[in-house]
């Protein structure tokens, strides 16, 4: 974070060789959260971008050190609030792995269906917001029309629209409601008939294409070196889908393709996310009619104690690889917990892909990284 006086000092005058330092954020309509970028410009060309973080730092890692293994899961909903269900899943998987808890098949199926619905909802929000950043207002309403159906399903199922908190170690908090399958099928029908509208409105839009093609190019080697994951890395041709590489829950039983593009520019990142939504629909279609009957939660002890040692679990959120690293001393609370958030690594690449381009292209480069600021600050 920056002290206020330093910000004023930096912006007050031009530098020696005509460089201008401007502050983008912390309150800026296109950063979708309190991200502060200090952009050094020479004319219209970006020389350097320096992110200043911490405006919504809530010391989640320190807080988790005094929470039990049942409680700490719910804090993670507040990190990447658009993939909160998948964050919860990553933490539950860690506890289940550490204590060798059996999860019933019914819970596994429901977890995966809800994870994929979460992914679609997250990509829908990104699609609308991204198009709006580039000046197209209509796609925002189109995307939110379908996203609203998912948040309604979430509200009926989990009791919340954004921070689901539906997962407990060993399974789910309570069973599905009777209308679940009917509502999900209605959503699939609706989504399939409307996804072509995005193609017409955004993908084939000549203005959108010329603003994103060739902008913010990231090579495969740099993507790996910067630790980029998720659609950002897959648009550069890096195969990094955790669902394929280290399958968890029932991802090894369903058929889906890992979407990979090779152009590495903003348009490729857009294409990856749109195609991923279709793959998510494909996964849900295979599972929705086959949810097994039975328990929704396995048998666990009342007080969970992880054995002494170190544990790591990872899941694929809408933004990339989310990892949880826990050092346990054998007690009821973790000794140290570290969240490897995908947004943090994806943000670190921003200076690399945007330096040298024009200030107007910054929105396209940054928008397609799909940054969620609470996920970065933690």
């Amino acid at each position: 974070m920056y002290n206020q006086t330093e910000i004023l000092k930096d912006t007050s005058e031009l530098g020696a060789d005509g460089e201008l330092v401007i502050n983008m954020g912390p309150q800026h309509p296109a950063t979708h959260g309190v991200l502060h970028l200090v952009v050094t410009l020479n004319g219209e060309t970006i020389k350097k971008i320096e992110p200043h973080l911490g405006y919504i730092h809530r010391s989640i890692e320190k807080m988790c050190e005094s929470l039990t293994y049942r409680q700490f899961i719910y804090v993670t909903s507040r990190m990447d609030y658009l993939s909160s269900h998948i964050n919860n899943l990553g933490c539950a998987l860690l506890v289940e792995k550490g204590m060798a808890i059996e999860v019933p098949d019914r819970a596994k199926y429901i977890r995966v269906i809800l994870s994929e619905l979460t992914r679609i909802a997250s990509h829908e929000l990104w699609l609308g917001a991204m198009a709006m950043d580039l000046g197209a207002f209509t796609p925002f309403f189109y995307a939110f029309r379908e996203r609203e159906m998912i948040t309604d399903i979430m509200e009926d199922t989990c009791g919340a629209r954004l921070t689901m908190n539906y997962i407990v170690p060993g399974g789910l908090m309570y069973d599905l409601h009777p209308d679940f399958q009917k509502k999900v099928k209605a959503f699939i029908t609706q989504f399939k008939s409307k996804v072509t509208e995005y193609e017409d409105l955004v993908t084939n839009n000549i203005i959108f294409q010329s603003r994103t093609k060739g902008v913010g190019i990231l090579s495969a080697e740099d993507a790996i070196s910067y630790g980029c994951t998720g659609p950002v890395a897959r648009a550069s041709g890096v195969s990094c889908d955790i669902r394929k590489i280290y399958p968890y829950e029932v991802y090894d039983k369903v058929e889906f393709d890992e979407v990979i593009e090779t152009a590495g520019d903003s348009f490729a990142r857009y294409i990856v996310r749109v195609k991923e939504m279709n793959q998510s629909i494909r996964i849900i279609e295979q599972l929705i009619d086959n949810i097994p009957e039975g328990d929704f939660v396995g048998k666990t002890k009342n007080v969970l104690k992880l054995p002494k040692g170190e544990f790591y679990s990872r899941v694929e959120t809408a933004r990339g690889e989310f990892g949880v690293y826990v050092v346990s001393e054998g007690g009821t609370t973790p000794h140290r917990i570290k969240f490897r958030s995908p947004g943090f690594s994806n943000l670190s690449v921003l200076n690399h892909i945007a330096a040298g381009s024009k200030i107007g292209d910054l929105m396209a480069s940054m928008g397609t990284l799909d940054l969620v600021i609470p996920d970065i600050d933690r």
Binding site: G54, I245, G309, R336, S345
Partner: protein, 150 residues
């Protein structure tokens, strides 16, 4: 490569390394001074560890431990490198010239644990305010105003 082969390979690079196979991955504990040459060899040598997916620090009250989770996008094998640091003068060499992602992660460890990374290009606070006192993720950190313990 099997764990035995990795051990043999790393012993040839860092003879003082000790191993722990109880966890999910092979854990390798090295001296802080031997870390940088070993990391560079892991990245460019036959193991091709090009993906640093987690870098963090743990406070064990008697010492700090740096933890590096390494993986390779080609053969997908993961190993964990650790180095114990003196809690009073924690100094270790940076790895951000090997993996670019380490630049931000090391800045976070610097402000949260007070670890000094030598040769880091831009070692400043990243998340906390510039005038913040203390190292919040250390176990002995107390802040009576902004309570973070429950």
């Amino acid at each position: 490569m099997t764990n035995e082969e990795i051990k043999e390979y790393i012993s040839s690079l860092a003879p003082a390394a000790t191993y722990d196979e109880t966890g999910e991955w092979l854990n390798i504990l090295v001296e802080p001074t031997a870390l940088k040459p070993l990391m560079a060899a892991l990245r460019t040598g036959k193991m091709q560890m090009n993906y640093l997916f987690c870098l963090t620090c743990v406070d064990f009250k008697t010492h700090l431990t740096m933890v590096y989770h390494l993986s390779a996008t080609t053969h997908r094998q993961s190993i964990v490198i650790k180095a114990n640091l003196n809690r009073d003068i924690p100094v270790i060499e940076t790895v951000c010239d090997i993996w670019r992602t380490a630049e931000f992660l090391e800045r976070e460890v610097f402000e949260m644990f007070g670890v000094n990374f030598t040769n880091h290009p831009d070692l400043r606070k990243l998340i906390l305010e510039d005038d913040f006192k203390g190292f919040p993720l250390r176990k002995d950190f107390e802040d009576p105003i902004n309570m973070i313990k429950l």
